[in-house]
Homo-oligomer: 321 residues x 2
């Protein structure tokens, strides 16, 4: 049996897998990203781990069509160089030529949330649907655009940066350098900071503050405070959901998709609330005739979305015109 | 010689023309829109005027491939019904079947700024370019999206509503019912109202107020006040240009086009200032790697953009796959 290889490089961990033609993840492996090491060593380590997975699965390279690799960053148009991957502190890394010297099979690169969107479109809830927008809400907010069932990356290759849609001119500073981007108000990073700041006003010895500020998993801490109905957390999360809704209205007005798919760490924990609130904003503020037919759903693929997207990337590059 | 017919129906006037294959407007005619009449009578009047133009040009219908018709409104996906055209006070008009009973040649409909963008892409500054966004700034703000040289209308047919991108959450009320849309802060309607309100504070007998408030042509009044360096006008127009720049950053982050083309009534009068200021906002706030290659230009096609777009619409429907 032949497989599509897939590797999802994240700032914390790297997931990799071998996927069948119908989208079954037959084998997979997870390693922690040795972020402290130089990029060349990180890639060598990923290569060795991939080969360990192959040995464990008893699959030789000759049964691997190719590997789709996702990274949290921006690529040049031909996906040969990572221009900027802040989580990995990578800048202008000639990733394609380097990986081609490590792996003896064809390799394609893509931004990680572009891959997640492609995974949903090709193997998940978006199968058979023409125009899809993916939005993944985690420590950052990323997205992807599918037009006519194909990943749309635009002329420079950077399309789909929907976390950096500005919805609050002169709003809070964003990691990208701009102000008022969706990511600056609705990522878990932004939500966590805002709730912590509100708790800090109660005094830095207050139980609410000390519990929240010492939490190891920020997404979980937000979800816990929100689900318990704690008023400050509810206020901040609701405001973030409002901004997610506003951004989706913008995307509907611009692109008129068939489907919007949400995912990511925050979605995994409080997805129902996010979808309900965002859908209500859309119903209230989108222009008549633009939003009625748009399906807004969450993906059940979870962390597998980018892996499946990597497989779809290989499949589409090798087997479709 | 054969021609493409084109009709641009506006809230004030209707322009029509016969266009050659290379985009020359060989004959054209302008009439005032009899907006007070029922839609059926308006369409009959437009039909008679088109036939008058044909007679004057000595071109029989057999030499007209078809007619592309633009309207300021939203259409259903198949362009058979105008869902909503506020300037004409039309709602759910079965325009295609009605016009097919009037004109003995094939007819296609499109939103007017979609047509303008198509005109620029096919016969103007965008010729040969893959991905283009058009933005037309007048009493309203409309746009259009070209992807792979084709007009992109999305799944519902309503894509490209870039005047209704929300950039100021909870901002000023927009004609669409939402808040903080680009149109609500940067259309000539919005700019004019804001300047007039500032002048009204000086007293309703002040020369600045009486002169401005009595102006028949609002766009011209804005341009005159802005070009004379009057501080309130400069402040309001600069703020509108900032918002135009913010919206273009959003569009670049989402779609990564090769080119952004500006046009419309306000652009005709103060286009250089708009482009300079918007381009400066883009350089300051767009993410590295997204905006460097995007050309931002104005179209010289002026009012001919939608006419040429109508011709392109016929041409593309009849002669390309």
């Amino acid at each position: 049996m032949n497989y599509y290889g897939s590797i999802d490089i994240g700032g914390t961990k790297v997931r990799m897998g071998l996927i069948t033609a119908d989208g079954t993840i037959a084998f997979h492996k997870m390693i922690l990203t040795p972020v402290e090491k130089p990029w060349g060593e990180i890639l060598t380590y990923i290569n060795k781990s991939f080969e360990t997975m192959l040995r464990e699965a008893m699959v030789p390279y000759t049964h691997v069509y190719g590997i789709g690799i996702g990274c949290p960053g921006t690529f040049d148009l031909k996906r040969e160089v990572i221009s900027f991957a802040p989580n990995l502190k990578w800048r202008n890394i000639p990733i394609k030529s380097h990986c081609e010297s490590l792996f003896p099979v064809p390799i394609w690169f893509e931004n990680d949330t572009n891959l997640s969107t492609l995974g949903v479109a090709h193997f998940g809830e978006g199968r058979g649907i023409n125009n899809i927008i993916g939005m993944f809400i985690g420590t950052g907010i990323g997205g992807g655009i599918i037009i006519d069932k194909k990943l749309y990356v635009g002329s420079s290759g950077s399309a789909g940066e929907i976390g950096h849609i500005i919805i609050q001119e002169h709003g809070p500073r964003c990691s990208c350098g701009s102000r008022g981007c969706l990511e600056a108000v609705a990522s878990t990073t932004a939500i966590y900071k805002r709730i912590r700041r509100m708790y800090a006003r109660l005094g830095k010895t207050s139980p609410l503050y000390t519990h929240f500020a010492s939490s190891k998993n920020r997404t979980y801490a937000i979800a816990q405070a929100y689900n318990s109905g704690e008023p400050a957390a509810v206020k901040v999360v609701d405001s973030a959901c409002y901004s997610i809704g506003t951004t989706l209205v913008n995307l509907i007005h611009i692109l008129a998709p068939d489907m919007i798919v949400l995912g990511g760490g925050l979605y995994e924990l409080i997805g129902t609330a996010i979808i309900e609130k965002a859908a209500s904003i859309i119903r209230k503020t989108a222009m008549p005739g633009t939003c009625e037919q748009v399906k807004i759903i969450g993906t059940a693929l979870g962390e597998n979305a980018p892996l499946l997207g990597g497989a779809a990337l290989v499949k589409m590059n090798l087997f479709t015109v």
